[in-house]
Amino acid sequence: MKKYSVFAIAREAMRGHKGWEEQWSSPEPKKEYDVIIVGAGGHGLATAYYLATVHGITNVAVLEKGWLGGGNTGRNTTIIRSNYLYDESAGIYDHALKLWDGLSQELNYNVMYSARGVMMLAHNVHDIQVLKRHVHANRLNGIDNEWLSPEQAKEFCPPLNISRDARYPVVGAALQRRGGTARHDAVAWGYARGASARGVHIIQNCEVTGVKRAANGAVMGVDTTRGFIGAKKVGVVAAGHSSVIMNMAGVRMPLESYPLQALVSEPVKPVVPCVVMSNTVHAYISQSDKGELVIGAGTDQYVSYSQTGGLHILQHTLDAICEMFPIFTRMKMLRSWGGIVDVTPDRSPILAKTPVPGLYVNCGWGTGGFKATPGSGHVFAHTIAKDDPHPINAPFTIERFRTGRLIDEAAAAAVAH
């Protein structure tokens, strides 16, 4: 792997940019690997990267049915924050946030992590109580989060409408300054480049069609559209399709998959300096470095794999955005799309061993997995390498739905990731 630097740019400028190498190779699949990761999204590629860098396991294949980073990694609204209520969630999301800081240097790839602040709005007394509870819980866990008055919120985000006549008046806000955004594609590409350079095989257009198990129940490998590939350890990181893959291994999951939509506006000059979210009216917005307003909408109410979603969901979100930011009422929306998110009953992820020996699963990130990418990959690599969870992901088992030890972020922050 040639290092990217200002000198590399200068050197290539002199040579007509003919010396850039491919960022990752596309090898033919081998017959057998030590570890197979199903799904080349951010979480899967990060897992492969940390297997190689932290645990020295490089005989790894990442199988992807489509193209790398083409699922939810390329469809999310790129928001990063760790202001979750419960200790377990705070642990894993803040682990990720600490890795975001410095990730560009680690990967030698600009993931454009920008700690521009995530501000969550309160519109009524109940919101104030909930958000203040979050502020205090976060501080006890060493996570920055502070309370702002409406005027302070307006100062932090000038286009915000804090008029008392607003349909959803702003009565306060919680601000996590370390929160922000990153470039989603670059995260997948950076991890892919780093993993590939250490010998990991990234195999695109290779759909898993079955999971083979030995007589004793342990995993032997996977059937794919490019033939059988053997491995004693298989990690399933397939987002909306995780339950489909797990069913192939005979494991039924506490998951349901829903379409989640997002949209972007025409690009404009910098106007939204931070991320603004409102759980109550369900709207959130930030501005990409290209200048597009990036807006996240809600999920549809029914199980679907169609990657579309209903128009009324977008309209509902845009109604709220236009109330909070009257200056955007005449903006043109450029594109909208949907991704399929796998949602657990308590809205917390599952990163764990499974009842099948050698089979591991990292799923259930629901509507908010992007922010966790580095932390998720880091602890999931540990889980696979050691056949034992890292202390940070130890609470995120499948068994919690039998024992009742839920991590009930659904009750704490049901929406807006």
């Binding site: 039924r252 999951m253 998951l255 998959s257 029914y302 024992t403």
Partner: protein, 103 residues
Amino acid sequence: MLLIRCPYCEEERPELEFRNAGEAHIARSANMAGESDDDFEKFFFIRSNPKGIIYERWRHMHGCARFFNAVRDTVTDKFIMTYKAGEPKPSKLPKNSNEVVAK
């Protein structure tokens, strides 16, 4: 937005009038307190989440307000049929849906 046929009103109406109520044909135990943890987990949390044909409940919230069941393809979101609550899970789906059923 989906168009959904309510089997009670016998009319196709826009999705906005309906609430999805999750997977259908999950029987609640008559003796809930006697359920084992495994069986309670299956009843309460485990879902089939199929990529293909799903049997699901809907409620015609802003119409007759009654619950009914539907068969839908989760890849195309196309409804294959709807039927009244309490009717058995259809063993055969209508002929014109052969293509989807084959999946």
